[in-house]
């Protein structure tokens, strides 16, 4: 590793290498702290050219590479691998192009999500994907995970907003797909790459679509006596054809945590659930939407409804949701943020099951979720020093995923598979599905050096290789 570090330093300069043990600790995991592995080396190239040179060198040396954005991922996608190098995009922070007329931006992968949004704001434009970690997470990381966020309900996840990419491939060659084409020229390589969790290449530049900022935004906060009522209200709103920009729910334990924190939003004690609804559009349209939405939520006899259109009030109404994860630090030292999706008609049923699964295992559950998308985030409180509690948490997480898949849902709505959900992939996919995924992956990275061991169970890929060796030669 020492000679490799020397060669890499020659490519990216001294500031582009981290090899001191005290600094390497910061890279030992992403936000899934329970899966940690201290890397031997971290390299931070500044642009596509340096990334290509780094990847070419690592390819020649046969060194595995773990790409990393801000490390805010929650599924262990950026957990280092033994004998590998972490490639961080943290020094790629330039906005390369901002085209107001054609409504797109081209940025380096390390640009922070919220920085892009802020930059667009005064132009009357917005970058729609807004993961909860948007203050820190990078656009490149969002591409890797196909990240969502509350406004994904209306605008869709990252994949709907990526128009182009520059990708450095496993051998250092550069795939320039940055031009924002209306339709792909040939196969949709960009669409395939988004959400590939760093296993197909390193995105160094991203061209994203910008959307017009809405002229009017109204936030409606509804307090319910039960979580069931809040879930039913969401189903009613969707079934009635209302079209809000966001639909978010917080449960009782989350409310309590928020109220005891600096994010206190003044929720009444008897509230068992909070439903946040954001409406946007022209003033008269927002007023009409509000009438429709309120007609639906009133059917569930809420405790209270609060509304606001001005930025200060909206910020206050969102404060509890935005601060929920921070506030949970008061409940337990560690938080296992699960991520599963269910059909929206089965929200109430599956939320009740997650509560029961955790209760049966003596675990405390705080639930915050993107209700409009059926994207559950059961947050299980634990202490990583308690081995038995960690075991129960993982067991509960796996059971929750099983139940969601059995109900017609999916393993992950926005966090990705990473290392965390590898063992659950076979709940969702057949061996044939996984084999196809492995074959596709090998077209990009034949030696599987890019983020090895993530996203697809390794044994599935080994089976594909074995089958390929035994297969007859392709016809000419």
């Amino acid at each position: 590793m020492r000679s490799l570090a020397r060669e890499l330093r020659a490519l990216v300069g001294p500031a582009g290498i981290v090899d001191e043990p005290t600094r390497l600790v910061a890279y030992e995991s992403d936000a899934l702290a329970m899966l940690a592995e201290t890397p031997e080396l971290v390299v931070l190239p500044r642009d596509t050219r340096e990334t290509a040179a780094v990847m070419e060198l690592l390819s020649r040396r046969g060194v595995p590479v773990v790409p990393r954005g801000a490390g805010t991922g929650l599924a262990g996608g950026a957990t280092p691998v033994a004998g590998g190098v972490v490639l961080s995009t943290a020094r790629m922070r330039d906005v390369l192009e901002l085209d107001v007329a054609d409504r797109f931006a081209r940025v380096q992968a390390g640009v922070v999500n919220v920085d892009l949004s802020s930059l667009c704001q005064h132009l009357g434009l917005a970058y729609a994907p807004d993961p909860s970690s948007q203050m820190a997470c990078t656009i490149g990381g969002n591409v890797a995970n196909n990240s969502g966020g509350p406004h994904c309900f209306k605008y869709g996840a990252t994949t709907r907003h990526v128009l182009g990419l520059v990708i450095v491939q496993h051998d250092g060659s550069v795939l320039d797909l940055a031009e924002p084409e209306l339709d792909p020229l040939g196969y949709d390589l960009v669409g395939l790459f988004v959400g590939s969790e760093g296993t197909l290449g390193i995105a160094t530049e991203v061209t994203v679509r910008l959307v017009p900022a809405p002229p009017v935004i109204e936030v409606v906060l509804v307090l319910f006596r039960s979580l069931d009522d809040a879930c039913e209200a969401v189903s009613d709103v969707i079934a009635a054809g209302c079209d809000p920009a966001a639909l978010e729910i917080l449960d009782k334990l989350t409310i309590d945590a928020v109220e005891r924190s600096v994010f206190a939003a003044g929720y009444p004690r008897e509230a068992e659930a909070v439903l946040l609804i954001e409406l946007e559009g022209r003033a008269e349209d927002v007023a009409a939407q509000a009438r429709e939405v309120l007609a639906q939520v009133e059917r569930r006899r809420p405790l209270e409804v609060r509304r606001g259109r001005d930025p200060a009030t909206r910020k206050k109404l969102w404060a509890g949701r935005k601060g929920a994860f921070g506030a949970m630090g008061r409940i337990a030292p560690d938080l296992y943020v699960a991520d599963a999706v269910v059909p929206r008609t089965k929200l109430r049923e599956l939320v009740a099951r997650t509560v029961a699964i955790c209760r049966e295992r003596g675990l405390r559950l705080a639930t915050v979720f993107h209700a409009g998308d059926g994207n559950l985030h059961p947050n299980i409180c634990y202490d990583r020093r308690d081995a038995d509690e960690v075991r129960r948490v993982l067991e509960a997480g796996h059971l929750i995923l099983s139940e969601c898949v059995a109900a017609g849902g999916a393993l992950t709505g926005e966090h990705g598979v990473g290392l965390e959900k590898l063992s659950a992939m076979e709940l969702y996919f057949t061996p044939a599905d996984l084999a196809a995924a492995c074959r596709m992956r090998e077209a990009w990275d034949p030696h599987r050096r890019l983020n090895p061991g993530k996203l697809i169970p390794t044994h599935a890929c080994l089976e594909v290789r074995s089958a390929a060796r035994n297969a007859e030669a392709p016809r000419p």
Binding site: L185, G186, D188, R282, E284, V341, T412, R439, R441
Partner: protein
């Protein structure tokens, strides 16, 4: 070969599932198998693989004229007997159907409650064919391309195994998005079996506002003025009989009555329409606009800010070749559907025009040119990767053709 293919097919399919595909648009005639179940389709694929046939999947053939004919096709595998809606969950806003289900059936099933995107003018187009062709609709400005509507797909690979990607929920990042690769892959990687689409609330009201302006350039300018004023139309269409002549601008608004009325007021200010249609008249006009440009031989795509320049390049090249293009534009998407009234498909000037457009940096897709259809020109690294994907996912080259 055809006789042998037909004979062997009778071993796995009932006679009525086998017929003759007559070809057309430069595509050769071939035996056609139309299995009635996915099991039968898998059997056909296994037979084809064993016999080393080259197979071309087919929906209703709606987009065949846009597809470059394959060099060799031994068997056409049709989805026309794989029809039916597997599930429609109105409260969930999702719909799953077999690949051969027609667009008209899907629209009928969801009518009144949901809007199904892409909005197509070909009711016979199939779900699988639409996805395989990457066919976007009239409503693209608001809802995006077809690849954004697909939540999940099931497909049959060359060895007959069923493979799925995505799912039936509106948000899902489980595994690779192979379904994004299959969208627009023109049947070169797999046989699409079933698809799930996301649905949108049906707009309560539609209005169409029309204006006659001096030129396409002026109409384009008015469209951009609307956008700057905050109007988000379902579509804005400009039609012109000649590039230097007068043009018709039609702005289609759809949504809640309050939203439509608010936007209509802005359109009145910024586009000075001479006519307004509401209710059934507006719906009829919307359907007619959706059909506009159906006779196009050429679709140009560029960026909105340079559409005028692109039309200038088209006009210059067409003038030099003594062609008289008629255009239907979506200025906010920056696409132009171009017709050449009276011009035969064999006319060499069309290929010369393509060269000129490529030289001006414009991207063109042609219809009806058969084997003369100009190939897209992706960068070398992208082309290499596409070939590797083809070889990885269809190692025997069973599905006819390579990357689009």
């Amino acid at each position: 070969m055809s006789a042998r293919v037909t004979e062997l097919l009778t071993g796995v399919l009932a006679q009525e599932r086998i017929r003759h595909f007559p070809g057309g648009h430069g595509h050769r005639a071939a035996p056609e198998a139309a299995p009635s179940s996915l099991e039968e389709a898998a059997e056909v694929l296994r037979l084809a693989r064993a016999e080393r046939w080259s197979v071309q999947p087919l929906g209703h053939g709606t987009r065949l004229a846009w597809l470059r004919p394959r060099e060799r096709v031994d068997l056409v595998l049709s989805s026309r007997n794989l029809r039916g809606i597997t599930s429609y969950e109105p409260a969930d806003g999702t719909l799953t159907a077999l690949a051969g289900t027609s667009w008209a059936e899907l629209v009928a099933a969801t009518a009144g409650r949901h809007h199904l995107s892409p909005e197509l003018s070909e009711p016979d187009a199939t779900l699988g064919g639409t996805i395989a062709a990457g066919l976007s609709g009239f409503d693209r400005l608001r809802y995006g391309p077809v690849r954004h509507q697909v939540l999940g797909l099931a497909a049959l690979h060359a060895d007959g195994t069923r493979v799925k990607s995505g799912g039936r929920v509106v948000k899902n990042v489980t595994g690779y998005d192979l379904h994004r690769l299959w969208c627009g892959s023109e049947g070169t990687l797999c046989f699409l079996a079933e698809g799930t689409l996301r649905l949108y609330p049906a707009p309560a009201e539609t209005a169409v506002l029309r204006a006659t302006v001096a030129s396409p350039a002026e109409a384009i300018g008015r469209c951009h003025a609307l956008l700057r004023a905050g109007v988000q139309p379902l579509a804005a269409v400009v039609s012109a009989q000649e590039l230097a002549g007068p043009a018709e601008l039609a702005v289609v608004l759809a949504g809640r009555p309050e939203a439509v009325e608010g936007e209509a007021a802005l359109v009145r200010t910024h586009a000075q329409p001479s006519a307004e249609l509401h209710g059934a008249d507006a719906l009829a006009a919307r359907a007619e606009l959706c059909r506009a440009g159906q006779g196009a031989l050429l679709v140009l795509a560029t960026r909105p800010s340079i559409l005028n320049a692109a039309l200038g390049a088209l006009a210059k090249a067409a003038r030099a070749l003594e062609l008289e293009p008629r255009v239907s534009l979506h200025p906010l998407l920056a696409t132009a559907q171009v017709e050449f009234p009276g011009i035969q498909l064999q006319d060499e000037r069309l290929l010369e025009l393509d060269e000129e457009l490529a030289g001006a940096g414009l991207r063109a897709r042609w219809r009806g040119l058969g084997a003369r259809t100009p190939r897209p020109r992706p960068a070398a690294a992208a082309a290499d990767l596409m070939l590797r994907l083809k070889r990885s996912l269809d190692p025997d080259g069973l599905f006819a053709g390579g990357p689009p």
